[in-house]
């Protein structure tokens, strides 16, 4: 494979290979797409616990007297509302409101924050933030090399991680330092699957020990393919598909993560779109009948599919699509051109998959 030698590898690469993972190039990284089977891995997370190596994701540390003011200017959400030890989701906008990335920020101390980026956007995010930082008394540090990241997700995930940890785990949307399997870790009560669980930020040299301990405790290794089906069932956005620089957060349904009064970069445009209403809206859908819509398939009345797969939990084709705002109400039917065949779809409420109460 040309260029294969230039792909980054996570500290767990040898373990993935030994486990028989199919490895693929993803955002400049050689990542496990699946180990056994996608469906099996998906259901392991829904019913028990799975672990994802997401060490390809980037980290940016922001600290200094004006760290809060700086992040308030650059992130779309109200950063003041993050307590120490808290977490918050936000988007990073351009002046015109286009979305550069979507990210979680953890407040580690009063004026020390850690922001987790998408691998494909990391270098651009770092450059953008450093450029914006010139007007602030703040240090913006690319600390991606300092961390490996494991996401442990599923109904049994917390119990298992707790059994390996030296203290209680943080509640949802919180972060704290713990030792997990004897290894110092930042434990974050966040995830991308719709299941309870934690994400662990670890020193790269120690990540293997934690991975091994999790597998020994019965956690199933899960690849990127199931990560995608899991997140799509609960309608979490995937940057590059459902979010791009050409789309704003309001049409993407992320108005809840935008607080225009903070004056973040792009706030004026976001405010204007929120007031006027966007031309298109991102909606979750299910296919009514056979077939699977895929990213890029046109919506017949305008718009396009940005994510689409066969839902392992529901057994039907699901996805998200931008559709004309007038057709975005739940239960609205619309047609998708799937490589020349018309497939009927129905707009649904989020999430597409909900655990039985």
């Amino acid at each position: 494979m040309p260029g294969a030698q230039t792909l980054n590898r996570t500290p767990l690469f040898d373990r993935h290979e030994a486990a028989g993972a199919k490895l693929v190039a993803f955002a400049g990284w050689e990542m496990p797409v699946q180990y056994g089977g996608v469906r099996e891995e998906h259901l392991a997370v829904r019913e028990h616990a799975g672990v994802f190596d997401v060490s390809h994701m980037g980290e940016i540390e922001t600290r200094g007297p004006q760290a809060l003011a700086f992040l308030q200017r650059t992130l779309s959400n109200d950063v003041r509302r993050i307590p120490e030890g808290g977490a918050q989701y936000a988007v990073l906008c351009r002046d015109d409101g286009g979305v550069l990335d979507d990210l979680f920020t953890y407040r580690l101390a009063g004026e020390t924050f850690l922001t987790v980026t998408n691998a494909a956007n990391h270098a651009r995010d770092v450059a953008w933030l450093i450029e914006q930082a010139e007007a602030f008394d703040v240090d913006v540090l690319d600390v991606a090399d300092r961390f490996a990241m494991l996401a442990v997700q599923g109904p049994a995930a917390r119990r298992i991680v707790r059994s390996l940890a030296d203290g209680e785990l943080p509640s949802r949307m919180h972060v704290c330092e713990r030792r997990v399997a004897g290894v110092p870790a930042l434990v974050c009560g966040t995830g991308y699957t719709g299941e309870d669980g934690v994400e662990l930020l670890l020193h790269p040299d120690a990540a293997g020990e934690v991975w091994d301990a999790l597998l020994t405790a019965g956690v199933v290794p899960v690849g990127l393919a199931a990560r995608d089906t899991l997140r799509l069932e609960v309608c979490f956005h995937l940057y590059g598909n459902d979010l791009t620089e050409e789309r704003g957060p309001i049409e993407a349904g992320l108005g809840w993560a935008c607080k225009e009064d903070t004056g973040f970069i792009g706030a004026d445009e976001v405010r204007a779109v929120r007031a006027a209403g966007p031309a298109e809206r991102l909606v979750p859908f299910v296919i009514d009948g056979p077939g699977i819509a895929r990213p890029g398939n046109p919506v017949v009345d305008g718009g396009e599919v940005t994510s689409g797969t066969m839902s392992p939990s529901l057994g039907v084709g699901i996805g998200m699509a931008y559709v004309p705002a007038a057709h975005a109400e739940p239960d609205t039917r619309f047609a998708i051109d799937v490589r020349g065949k018309t497939r009927d779809a129905i707009v649904k409420k989020k999430p597409l998959y909900r655990k039985d109460p």
């Binding site: 199919k22 797409v33 699946q34 089977g37 996608v38 469906r39 393919a225 995608d228 089906t229 056979p290 077939g291 699977i292 895929r294 797969t309 066969m310 084709g317 490589r339």
Partner: protein, 128 residues
Amino acid sequence: MAEASYPDDLLYHPEHDWARVEGEEATLGITWYAQDQLGEVVFFEPPEVGKTMSKDDAYAEVESVKAVSDVIAPLSGEIVAVNEALGDNPEKINQDPYGDGWMVRIRLVDPGETDGLLSADAYEGSLQ
């Protein structure tokens, strides 16, 4: 099936399709290698009976979790039967690619076309 296999009684197309020729008819499907590359098949819509297909052209699509792939006709013919069971159980293509995972049965237009196909050994050799 977990282990690679390429039965000797089949003919193979380099685009990873097999044909079991029986007189003037042939049953078609995709090879072990093809299903392994695809991963779990989650959708297959059989073409219509009565349609004609030309050797080397796509006659159907098979979809895994991540990707859509064309299924290439190893021979030309008219479709006389399709495996309707794959509509509800596309995973049969992974579990039994040469048996329950068969896709279509065709009446051959030109039985001489089989000369252009590969033996099991030659096909397996092409995968190295």
